[in-house]
Each structure stands twice: as C-alpha cells, then as structure tokens.
Symmetry: C2
Subunit: 261 residues, 2 copies
DNA sequence: CTGCCGCTTTGATCCATGTCAATACGATAA
DNA sequence: TTATCGTATTGACATGGATCAAAGCGGCAG
C-alpha cells in the first residue's frame, strides 16, 4: 500500500478541506493550564498558582484536529509549540526520493513542534492519528515568559532535553536491535506511557497501522506483523488487530536484555 | 575485537590516571567568548559586545582532555554544558547487555552535555578522540544569563532544536538507508562540517575507527570497510587509512538520492 | 631494526529481514 | 445482504549485511 510515497495518506489529506493557513478547526476556546489534568506531564509542571495564571494568558487557543489532519507540515513557518491535550499524533519526515519515516508518536501531555525552533521552520510533519486537541503555545511568548519564570524556563529545557534522550534510545534501537527486540521495546514503551496517563498498563489500543509501527522501528510491515504473531504464539501478548494485551511483561523485558547472538 | 563490550576501550580508559571527579587536566585558563574564533558556530553567535563580556564571566574554565579521556560518563551528575574549542569527541550509550552505540561525533564549536538537563544526570559518555579542549559552561549560570539576554536564550534554544533535527536525520539514516547510502551521508556530513570550519571540503582526516563509524551508522566495521573500498573502486573517494579525499562529491550525493530498489 | 598490537581489508558463508504474492479480516457503504 | 477498501496475516523466496576467519598494514616500544 505504500511503496510509492504513501498515496493513501495523500488522498485522505486531499479529501480534507483544510489546506489553508487558517484551519477550519481552529477554535477559540482558551486553554487553561491551571485547570488542566495533564499538569505533571506538561511544561506547567510544578508551577505556582500565580505563575500558572501567567501561563494561562500565554497559551493561546486550543485547536482541534480530525483524524489524518496535519497539525503542521515540514517547511511551515515555526510560530508555536503544541501540547497534546487529547488524542494521538505521529511525526514523520519525508525524503525527496519518496522514502519516509515516522520519527515519533505523541500522546496527551507531550509537546510537539520543537524541531522548528532552530530554523524557524518545521522539519517534519505532525499528523493526528485520531481526532485530537492541542494547546497552542506561541513560542515568542513562551520565551518571554520563561525569562520571567525560572521554573517555566527549567521545565521547557527539561522537556527538550528529554526529547534528546528519547531520540538517543531510538537510535540505539534502530542501530543495534533485532526486529523482535524493537517491537518488545516499542510495546513496553507504549505500556509505560499509557500507564503514566492512568490507563491500563497491560491493555491498550494502538492508534497506528503496522506500517507506521514498522516505519518508526525501521522495519517492514510484514516483519512487524510476524513479530506480533510470534509474541502471541509464545504467550507474551494477545493481539487482535490494534488491540493489544500484554500477558507477560517480564518476558518482553527479558527479550530486550538478551544479548543478541 | 568488540563483541564483549569494548574491552579495548575499557583498557585504554583504565590506563589513564583520570578516574577521579577532578580531572588532572582541569586547567584554570579562563575561556573568553569575546576572543573566540568559533563565534558564529557557538552559542555566542550574534551577541553584542557588552553581552559577550557577560558571557565571558559565565564561561568558567577551559578543560583539556587527552585522547581517549572521558569528558563525562553516563550517570555523572549534570552541572555544565561544554563547548568544544579544539579537538574531536564522540558520545556513546552503553546498554546493560554490553551493546553500545556511538550517538554522535562533535567538533569545534559544537555543544556537549545537553542530554543531562532533563534528568540532572548525563545519559551518555563523551570521549575525546584526540587531545581536545572544551569551554565549561555552568548550566545554572547559563540559564540565569539567558533570562537576561534574549539573544543568548534564543541561541541556546536553537542549538538544542538543531540537535533534535540532527537526531531526526540520523533516525532516517538508520531506519531507511542501505549501507552505502549511510556511509555516503556520513562522508558528506563530515565534509560539510569541516568546510564550515574553514578546512578543505574534499580532504580530511577521520579521527574515529571503522568500528566507531560502523557503530554510529548501525553497521559492522567490515561493512564500513567494504563500502569504503567500493567507493574507491568507483572513483568516488580516495581512502588511505583514516585520510579521506572526496573525488566526486556529486557522485556521493547521487548515491543518496537514488531510490532503493 | 624487529616484533607486537591495534586497526583495516578481504574472502567465504549464513541468516534475518526484505520482497513479492496470495489470502483473510473488519469496517463501511450500497 | 454483498461489494469494496484499507489493513493484516502468512508463505515462499531473494538478498544485504552479519559473522567467522585469515592476512595485510602501520605505528610504536624495546
């Protein structure tokens, strides 16, 4: 279904009316960090009451996106960061020759758009994998405010740094792990992130296709599918399409630490 | 020579006297951004005279490292960033099971240590690949000063963001490219970075071994060596050990853009 | 100069994953 | 209900890179 540059994605994109700079889905409901349940995951973490009020005034609007809609595209001018409120995103990079790769999946409380700061333009595409909502954080104002609020400055730096560390792990995965290790690492990571958000650690719904998982893990979709089947045979997980149950998390971890060869 | 966790590296490490927290090579010569020729590559880029003076007072000391010496290790408490003044570094991550991977090579003007901000501890090792010198930038003071100097804040954010984008490219490389494409990308990247520092774009000396290149590119050293040989046969480059001459940069670029299969 | 050691090159073989192809499944629309 | 379309599974086969092994090379210490 892929091969020639994701025709399906392009088509579904084209089918959506939102090609203009001002998306139809930009709603004016103000975000309110002070009210937000994602506190401890977001850049608002640990701020005092007064500081939260300031942050509220900065975080502009929320923006709603439908499944398959782009939050931004590679090349778009960079203006704001986005905090995922609800839903699920992927980021991907497209090479001139048509090859692309998913570089990350983002869920509630995670920040999107930091790739754009360095060049003032986004370097990847961000796409909603289900109907989603983000808080828009105008970057100039974030910098302004983080010059005033030390804790905010620190939070922001930490978020960026953790992203660097996350990238390191992904490099490690892509550079040294075999297919089944990669998938085990992926599942454990998903589980851990769902858990941190109060969902079941052992049962979840994947929002992405096998192809997207494969792209993220540097594998072909058939390899991902086979690894899922193998895990199921071995009683490590129960798979039913996108619904996953982890039956033996320890077993998955063991798979990771087993020296290759 | 690898397989069991880089014994050679460990040995050469052990041979060095510097295992203590205070390295023998910590010299007290003050760094001076205002005098530094790496301006346009470093976080001091674009600062005014007065601002540079403030930065000078912040940038603590320089620190000299001998070949194979660690600038920091995974787990070390994070206190400062380091700007490479002279020399050449690698960063690498070590998995519990002994596998490791080089996550980057750093040269003059590039910043090391940002991985530590998020957790207050470094997440990788930084090792000098030749005798080197860094400027020590105490992080708390950098944050302090970047609350005062907008341009410094902006520079720092840009440096971090560019690191994120660099990581994206590396993921792309590790996830989608074949061996020869990876090596071509690596050589072109080296050339470009040497060029930006005023060295010859077509002729340079690699400071790292084939094994380190392979680790960085997700390949085995034999594969790297074979790719070098192939490039030489095809007249793209001239290799003599670590000395590389690019004979046909365009040819290398073509290799990159050629769709695989 | 000689010998050693780390690094590199090259060859032969193996295997994990990619590729190609057929089929199955599940949701949605007609 | 049936047709359709995107997605997922499974099988057969091909292949790029890993692995194992053997020289070759160059620098450094004695």
């Amino acid at each position: 279904m892929d091969q020639s540059g994701r025709p399906s994605e392009r088509e579904s994109e084209a089918a959506l009316p939102n090609k203009s700079a001002v998306p139809v889905s930009l709603v004016t409901i103000k975000a309110a960090c002070s009210q937000c349940s994602l506190h401890e995951l977001c850049i608002s973490e640990g701020l005092g009451k007064e500081e939260l009020a300031k942050l509220d005034s900065l975080v502009g609007a929320r923006r709603k996106l439908k499944r398959q809609q782009n939050l931004y595209r590679a090349g778009d001018p960079f203006e704001a960061l986005y905090a995922v409120r609800t839903g699920f995103f992927k980021t991907d990079v497209l090479l001139e020759d048509g090859r692309d790769q998913v570089t990350g999946f983002q869920m509630a409380g995670e920040i999107l758009g930091m790739d754009g700061i360095g060049t003032e333009a986004h370097s990847c595409n961000a796409v909603a994998l289900e109907d989603s909502e983000v808080c828009v954080i105008p970057f100039a104002q974030l910098e302004q405010l983080s010059r005033e609020i030390q804790a905010l400055q620190r939070n922001f730096h930490k978020v960026m740094s953790r992203e660097l560390v996350r990238d390191q792990s992904l490099m490690m995965l892509l550079g040294t792990m075999r297919a089944e290790e990669r998938l085990a690492a992926f599942l454990l990571n998903m589980s851990q992130r769902f858990t941190a958000r109060g969902y079941s650690p052992a049962e979840f719904h994947l929002r992405m296709t096998r192809e997207e998982i494969g792209s993220y893990l540097g594998l072909k979709l058939e390899t991902v599918s086979r690894a899922f089947s193998r895990f199921q045979e071995e009683g490590l997980i129960a798979v039913q399409q996108k619904h996953i149950r982890l039956l033996d998390g320890e077993g998955l971890k063991r798979l990771l630490n087993a020296r290759p060869r």
